[in-house]
Subunit: 427 residues, 2 copies
Amino acid sequence: MINIGLIGFGNVGQGVYDILDQNGDMISGRIGSPISIKRIVVRSPEKYQDKVPSSVSLSADVNDILDDPDIQIVVEVIGGEFPAYDIITKALQNKKFVVTANKEVMSKHKKEFFKLAKENAVDIYFEAAVGGGIPIIRSLKVGFAANKINAFYGIVNGTTNYILTKIAEEKKSFDAVLKTAQELGFAEADPTMDVSGLDAAYKCTILAAVAFKLDVQLDDIYYEGIENISLKDIEYAKELGYHIKLLSFGKRDANNHFELFVYPALIPEEHPLANVRNEFNATYIVGDHVDESMLLGKGAGAAPTGSAVVSDIIDISFGLSQSVSFRNLETLFISGNVRPFEDTASRFFLRLLVSDQAGTLEKITAQFSAQSVNIENIIQKEHKDQDAEVVIVTQSLSEKHCDSLIKRLEETAEITRIISKIRVHKL
Amino acid sequence: MINIGLIGFGNVGQGVYDILDQNGDMISGRIGSPISIKRIVVRSPEKYQDKVPSSVSLSADVNDILDDPDIQIVVEVIGGEFPAYDIITKALQNKKFVVTANKEVMSKHKKEFFKLAKENAVDIYFEAAVGGGIPIIRSLKVGFAANKINAFYGIVNGTTNYILTKIAEEKKSFDAVLKTAQELGFAEADPTMDVSGLDAAYKCTILAAVAFKLDVQLDDIYYEGIENISLKDIEYAKELGYHIKLLSFGKRDANNHFELFVYPALIPEEHPLANVRNEFNATYIVGDHVDESMLLGKGAGAAPTGSAVVSDIIDISFGLSQSVSFRNLETLFISGNVRPFEDTASRFFLRLLVSDQAGTLEKITAQFSAQSVNIENIIQKEHKDQDAEVVIVTQSLSEKHCDSLIKRLEETAEITRIISKIRVHKL
C-alpha cells in the first residue's frame, strides 16, 4: 500500500485528488500496488469535509503528514517559498519522497534539496514546476540522458503566450487582451509575476539545473517581460516573417560558458516554437546526439499540472512497490560561468519614430555604419504629419554593442524616439 | 560494472557505439557505475577490427553475447523479424535486459516479449523503434502515466514527411522530390516500406500497444501511403488552409472501441502537427487529464536513434546499479475492438476532373445531395480545353458512405475522373 500525504488543496491539489479518484484503478494496476491519499493538510479542514470521503483524513497541521510513518510520498502543492521550504526539508529528512509543483522554492533551493534527498536515500520530483503537464524534466533526466544538452528554448509561461497570441491573431492592444485574459482566468488579477517574465525566469533556472546541472539563482540571469510589446511590433515582425514569443533561453558552449536569459524574441514563423499558440507551453532542446527536439503541451491548469504530479507519484511508486528505484539528479553540480548578459549576442528588431524629411533614412543608416552594424532588413512605414516609422533588423551583435548603437541613435536629430527594441532569434 | 552486448554494427549500432564513446564519462556518472560495450556481434568481425579498441571483442556468433553471464544488457540493432525474434527471445529467457530499435519485430511479437520479460524479471525497451530520438514511448509509459490516453496522431515516418514538405515548399513533383531524397539519403533505393505507409503502420501498432495496451497486428489496421499525393492536391489543400501529412492515427471511445489507421490527411495549417517539416517526426497525444501534448524530433539517423537506444540503456542501468527497477509494460493487455475501417469517419477532400459546360457544377452537387452529403468547401479551377477541375471538401462521413458517393460520382457523365480522395482531419 502506497500512502500519499497531500499538502495544499487548491487548484492543483484538487487536480491531483481528482486524477487519483478517477484513474485510481488503472494507476494501481500500473504500479502493482494499491495507492491512495491518506491525509490532506489544509488551513481550514472543516471547509473540505464534504468534498472527500471519510477514508481521507483532513488536518491543519503539516506534521500530521511529515511525522506519519505510513506516508511514503509527500505532495507539496501550496506554492511560494515559505512554508514550502520547511515542509520539503523536513519531509526529506524524514526519508519521504517529495513531489512538488512549486517553481519558486525549487528555483531557490534545488541544490540543497537534491543533497538532502541523496543523504536520505529518497528523491524530490518536480515535473509540474516547469511546463505543467509536459514531461520535460523527465525527458531531460531520462529520455535525453544519452546527450549533453547544448541549448534549450522554452515557452514556459502560458499567460504571456496567450496574450501574445491574441494580440497577433485578434489585432488587439496589450491592455485589451490582458483584460480578456483576466476575465477568462488565463491571467491573474495581479499579472506581474507572469507579464514581467519572473515566472519564466524561475523556470529558466530550473531548466538550467536539469539540462546543464548548473546551480544558478534568479540574480544570475537577465529577464525582461512583455509589457512593452505592442500590436505594431507584432505586425512588423509578421511582415518580416517572424512571430514574437517570450523565450526562456539557455545555451552552453564548449568551455562550459553559459548564456541564460528570459526576454521576448522574434522567432522565424516556420519554426515549431513560433506555432505554439494560446496558453500552450513548449521547450525546444538541442542535444549533442538527439539533435533538435520539442515537447509541447498545456503549461497550467488543475488537470495538466495534476497529471504531472501524479505521473511523478507513479514513477516513485514503481520503485517503492517493486524495490528501490532512484533517479536522483546528480548532487554534484558542474561548475560553469554564466556569460554577462551584456556580452550575449542576437539580432535586434528596432522600431524608430523619425522625422519625415528627405535624407532622413541616409542619416539613420549612416549611424549604423558608424557603429559598424550591418542592417539585414529595413521597412519604412506610415507617414503621419511630420513623423514616419522605420523598422530595422540588425546583424547579430552584443547587448553592449547594441546599447552604444542606441545611445548614438538617441542623439540623432532625425530620430524622434526609439519605440521598440526586441531580440531576433533565427534558431 | 555494466556490460553491454551489441548485436549489429550498421548505422544505428555505430551511433550507439559513438555516443557511449563520446559521452561515456558523463553517462557513467549519471548511472553511478562504469558502463561499456563488452562485445559486438557482426557478420564479418574482421571488417571492424580497426574501428573498435582491443577491449571490445568482436564475434560472428550471437551466443557469445547471449550466453555471457557478464553481459546484463543486449542491444539488438539488426532490424527485421528474423533472426531478431530468436535473439530477443533467448536474451530474455537468459534474464538479460533487451534494448531494440526494431519496429517490425516489436510490432509482430510485442505481447510475447512483454510476457517473457516479466516471467524472467527483466524488461525490453524499444524507444528507438518509434520516432527515433523522441522519448514518446517513455513519455506514454511514465510522463503521461496518470492519464488514460484517448488519441494519438503521429507523423512517424521521416522519409514521407520530407517528401511531402519538399513537394509543398519547392513546388516539385512527387517523383522529382523522391529522386532528390534518395540522393540525399532521406529515402531508400527501394522506398516502398516508407512510401507505402508500411513503416508508419508498424509504428502505429506499437503506439497502440503503449498508449492503449492494445495488442493489434498489421492485418488489423488499414494503411495507405503517399504515392498518389500530387503537388496539385497539396496546393489546393493549402488554399483551403491545410497541410497534407501522413498520419498514424489511434483513438479510443468510452466503450474501448478503437480506430487505428495510417493515411495521408489534411491537417489545419495552424495546428502544431502541420508545422512538422522535413525529416522531423512528431506524436500528438490527447490524455484525459494532460489534455493535448506533442513531442517532436528527428525520427531517424544514427545519432538520434542511437540517443534513444543509449537513453534506454541508461534507464536500465540506473536500476541495475542501484537495485532493481522495473518498468514493464503491463503484460495484461486490455480487450478492445478495432472499428472496421469502413465505419470510421472523416471529412473528404475530393479532386474531380469535370467537363467544362454550363450546369456541370449543379449536376455534381446534386449527386452529393442525393447521397445526403453536405459540402463544406468547393473550388472550381483551371479550364483547359473542355475540362475543368473541381475540389470539394465534404462534411464528416464514414468510409462506406464515401465509397457509395464515389461510385455515384463515377457514374455521373459530367465527371471525367476522380483524381484524388484524401481525408481531412480538423483535430
